[in-house]
Subunit: 220 residues, 2 copies
């Protein structure tokens, strides 16, 4: 597939249409339908651009039903952000448990898990990244803590690689920001029609991360 054919020429900020939620959410029940509807609309239109009636209309319930499950519209967002951040952290940590303690292998595992998570749950990732600001400071505290934990996983791997003399990292913060950015943006442009499988993207971006920390390309 050519480059231009798969470039996003719409003004939508997310390409994918996948609305699935990672946790066991019963779509036959009102709570689950509300969460999925809100996820879709927040990803598409933003929190401020989505009304309670929009959410309830899409979920097929009345506003009263939403308020029976969530104290406010803001709490619906908070729940989505919690699910999104915790799912990513769970996957990143799990990826590290699955592999040997070699820094290169661990770096690649983190990047691959990041990519796979964002390809599988793009809307959740977009909302997590683009709508956190809509939450009050108090309600965002616990979510920010999870984000910090996820970031620390990458920092730890980078620092270990430097200690071993395996990585060349001149600036830890900038290296962290660059590698995170590559993975984060996947959620915004990935779609089933982009011509690449999540596996291919994960492979490629893991190699990019390795090259950023000064590793030579893998043979083969």
């Amino acid at each position: 597939m050519s480059v231009s054919a798969s470039r996003n020429v719409s003004n939508r900020r997310i390409v994918a249409r996948t609305t699935e939620l990672p946790e066991q959410v019963d779509l036959r029940r009102a709570r689950g339908r509300i969460l999925v509807a809100a996820l879709h609309l927040f990803a598409d239109q933003g929190y401020g651009g989505t009304s309670v009636r929009d959410i309830c209309g899409r979920a097929g319930v009345q506003p009263t039903t939403m308020y029976a499950h969530f104290p406010s519209k803001e709490d619906v967002l908070a729940e989505l952000l919690r699910i999104g951040h915790e799912e990513l952290y769970r996957r990143l940590r799990s990826a590290l448990l699955d592999v040997e303690p070699d820094p290169r292998v661990r770096l690649e595992a983190l990047v691959r898990a990041h990519v796979h998570s964002h390809c599988e749950f793009p809307m959740l990732a977009v909302v997590a990244n683009a709508e956190l600001h809509a939450l009050s400071e108090h309600k965002s505290e616990s979510i920010l803590a999870v984000r910090q934990q996820s970031e620390s996983l990458l920092v730890d791997v980078l620092e270990r690689g430097v200690q071993c003399g395996q990585f060349k990292v001149a600036d830890m913060l900038l290296t962290l920001r660059a590698i995170s950015a590559i993975g984060t943006r996947v959620a915004f442009w990935y779609g089933p029609d982009c011509g690449r499988t999540p596996e291919q993207i994960a492979d490629t971006f893991a190699a990019f991360a390795a090259s950023i920390v000064g590793l030579p390309p893998r043979s083969g």
Copy 2:
């Protein structure tokens, strides 16, 4: 400066407070004050989270005055998006004109210009990247065309580097997405207190881009 000390632990989606606009905007006139006020608020709260009263209150004018200068709130956003996208394109193209036609030099020049533009006008970049979806499809057409032009500058440099045998690019789209992502995200985390100058960030990220396309580190 340590990594943790400069990591953003607030839920704000932009760290910087710089609201300057690149074009000659007269802040003594209502139109300019409205644009700057809207830029600040859209960056902070999003388009949907900002009311006309918010904008006018911050600009020190009445809503009627805003409607004398712009047909609607949406047109204020459209003007900011136009300014932001055109300024970035202007800088990217200008960066290419300033350097010799060597692919490595041109790739580094593009990344450096991207970084500098986002450090200088972070709010404009955040709004351009995060609020385009709030625009109607019709009004976003011309803006998307400018974005496509900017992207094409990078694609052309990458393709030239591959033709010369200087770059190793296995997947053009993924390389484009990765290098763009690194620069784009700068607008969200850069602040004067991050402990790095725009020059340092530009140097580092230009080197990352070079390593992504398979170039060896510059000597020295």
